[in-house]
């Protein structure tokens, strides 16, 4: 004994008769397609188009045969139609969480002394004048001790010649991660 189901598809006036398990496969395909189209404002229309094509392929498969659709029939037709993938199947660089493993440099362009402040300003994306002020204040209240920190940075940091070059390097670095 086998349960039969009647299937009506968008655009087709005739109903298709199918085995219960064949119906299940079709239903799951359409539900999956619906889920993957959820961000598409015209998803009902696209699903209708898909149903119409599925119906046309059933008709072509059956011909004048009045038989019941089997799971093999449904699988054949769905393999021709192909899966509906979500709009953004693969995450692009832009919508990945930004990974900030940036590198600090000295920048010679516009440098006052060794370009440490220029480098920090580019790194933290703040105006270089603020850093000059912070460094001067720190140097003053530490009685000049902070100048050593500045010199240490000047010695240890790698150097680039312009801000443009600095940002190009950061982009290159992010792309290789």
């Amino acid at each position: 004994m086998r349960k039969l189901t009647q299937i009506s598809l968008t655009g087709h006036s005739a109903v298709f008769r199918a085995n219960d398990d064949a119906y299940d496969v079709l239903w799951r395909y359409l539900e999956r397609a619906r889920l993957n189209l959820k961000d598409n404002p015209d998803h009902e229309e696209v699903l209708g188009d898909l149903e119409q094509s599925i119906g046309e392929k059933f008709l072509a498969l059956l011909g004048s045969d009045e038989r019941v659709l089997t799971i093999a029939d449904v699988n054949t037709v769905l393999a021709e139609i192909g899966p509906v993938e979500p709009d953004r199947a693969e995450p692009t660089l832009a919508n990945q969480a930004p990974r900030t493993r940036r590198q600090l440099y000295r920048i010679k362009e516009g440098q006052e002394i060794f370009g440490v402040c220029q480098g920090l300003a580019a790194y933290a994306d703040i105006p270089v004048d603020w850093l000059h002020l912070i460094f001067l204040v720190l140097a003053t209240i530490t009685g000049g001790l902070f100048i050593l920190v500045y010199l240490a940075l000047a010695i240890y940091l790698p150097v680039v010649s312009t801000r443009e070059e600095y940002f190009a390097r950061q982009t290159a670095l992010l792309n290789t991660l």
């Binding site: 655009g11 087709h12 006036s13 397609a33 189209l37 598409n40 404002p41 015209d42 229309e45 696209v46 188009d49 898909l50 119409q52 094509s53 119906g55 046309e56 008709l59 021709e80 139609i81 192909g82 899966p83 509906v84 993938e85 709009d87």
Partner: protein
């Protein structure tokens, strides 16, 4: 060693939209015509991919469609290019020529420095 086929798949995915514009520019077509024209090419695709793409292109006002009775079976959507679609196809064709010319040109001359 053969080139990894996946290496070009992203490129193909991006180009599919312009190929569809090009097919539709030749005259009114319905979805099965488009699939037929693409079959046996590198861009062969299926309804499951094409329908969502056509719907997106219609929303972007590149394509429009009208329902038309077919001899047998249900009425079909026949697609045409909108003005925006024609403009974008023209832009794409120009850009493509520039791009191939650039690739050829870069291949011809050794670097000078």
């Amino acid at each position: 060693m053969e080139t990894d086929p996946n290496k070009f798949s992203t490129l193909r995915k991006g180009l599919l939209e312009f190929l569809i514009l090009s097919i539709v520019s030749a005259g009114k077509v319905y979805a099965a015509d488009i699939l037929q024209r693409l079959s046996n090419t590198d861009f062969s695709t299926q309804e499951g991919t094409l329908y969502p793409l056509l719907s997106k292109m219609r929303r972007e006002d590149l394509l429009d469609y009208e329902w038309q009775e077919s001899g047998l079976g249900p009425p079909r959507k026949y697609y045409t290019l909108t003005e925006t679609g024609q403009r974008q196809l023209a832009e794409f064709r120009t850009y493509w020529k520039t791009l191939t010319a650039l690739i050829d040109e870069l291949g011809e001359q050794p670097c000078e420095n």
